[in-house]
Subunit: 241 residues, 2 copies
């Protein structure tokens, strides 16, 4: 369990460099050191982030910067997304404790887990949630729900550390890598597009998003991914004969 | 339980007004609104604290200021003291979760609980710990233990709320009925059979079983089932044109 790769905390479009620094501190306070950034507003690297990180500057030195969420999670096997308000998204919503227990179990099985955190003001957008297998929602006071980015990171890091002794929930499942699920989603989208499934055109974008969410949410194993590629190939092949 | 008086968070000799404001926000995020201050370095009230508190300014307006810890806890029935390093103190040391569970139980019995937080740099001194019935210690990374004052307040407030028995309002997923999943599995099996997917015949039974397991394992919603029927119909229809 102690050799489990720590989850990667991915800050999506963070605005204030000071919050990135504070997030790095909060992570290191609880033994996490893998940070990634997606399109930080004020550029990267940034000296104001380093100033706020105090002794956690090495996390920032090592933090890689990506242009999109898809690119930032490409090598992750499982993705969690933190958001205060899942609107019309049918994914499991977990409290931080349960989410980090699951992350521990996956990590113990050698899986790489990514956790997405939204920007200070706007949070994550629906399209950012696509790769997520589940949503993490902190049970805040509904009358004053605004959690700062660094605070949200701190709470998840705290729960990661607390979960060190937690039972292993999905350790046995040979989950497909995130990017294999992505390729499966692409394959289905292409073939269904050819088959005229995304109709009417005004609804096509929404239908595609729903279908991608469906694949992400299913905790597909590597064998499942092969089966679903194979089934689709076979169905599509009939047509070309 | 819901009528339990919330614990009073007492900041002892806080230095930075911004941290007092951030602490107020963190408290209100988890439904706490009773703050007291002991000898804040930069005087009180302080506009920089208010600026950082955003919507939690009313906590600061109501926060009373005391000259000593003894005075600040005089009307409390039970006192907890947060510190990273209890040195030669023979009191129980509790993790935040256990401490806040105890605080809930005391509050439910009508007791007023105070929680002491030390200054940013120095923490609490041994003399500050005198009134404490127990010590609360956050299980930080021993190689990087420095928790910011506002972060420590946030974690305790979070655990207070969690200790409520967490009214965990999670999105209810509209899972498909078992027999709808069965019909979906039948539909796929028929179409894939027609498409020659189950080949060679010696492996067909096993492949069918795997595919049925896949649908069962996925926690499909009713909308997912519709989507997967529709996708299959569309793929199969191309052939009959």
């Amino acid at each position: 369990m102690t050799d489990a790769p720590p989850p990667i905390f991915i800050l999506v479009r963070p605005q204030l460099p000071a919050n990135i620094g504070a997030a790095a501190r909060g992570m290191l306070n609880f033994g996490l050191d893998q940070m990634r950034l997606v399109a930080p507003r004020d550029g990267w690297p940034n000296p104001r982030a380093v100033a706020m990180a105090s002794g956690a500057g090495r996390l920032l030195d090592a933090a890689r910067c990506y242009v999109s969420v898809a690119e930032a999670v490409a090598d992750c096997d499982y993705v969690l997304a933190t958001t205060a308000r899942p609107r019309g998204i049918t994914k499991s919503v977990l409290p931080p404790q349960k989410a980090m227990e699951n992350a521990r179990a996956l990590a113990a099985a050698g899986k790489r887990v990514g956790v997405l955190f939204g920007a200070e003001r706007a949070g994550l957008e629906n399209r950012d949630l696509v790769p997520a297998g589940a949503i993490v929602s902190v049970p805040v006071n509904p009358d004053f729900p605004s959690l700062n980015l660094a605070q949200c990171v701190l709470l998840l890091a705290y729960e990661w550390r607390r979960a060190a002794g937690a039972p292993e929930a999905f350790a046995e499942i040979d989950l497909a890598a995130r990017h294999d699920v992505e390729r499966l989603a692409d394959h289905w989208e292409e073939r269904l597009d050819e088959a005229g499934f995304f109709f009417p055109p005004t609804k096509a974008a929404r239908m595609k998003l729903n279908l991608r969410n469906l694949w992400s949410r299913m905790s597909l194993t590597r064998a499942d991914v092969q089966t679903l590629h194979g089934a689709l190939r076979q169905l599509a092949r009939r047509d070309s004969n």
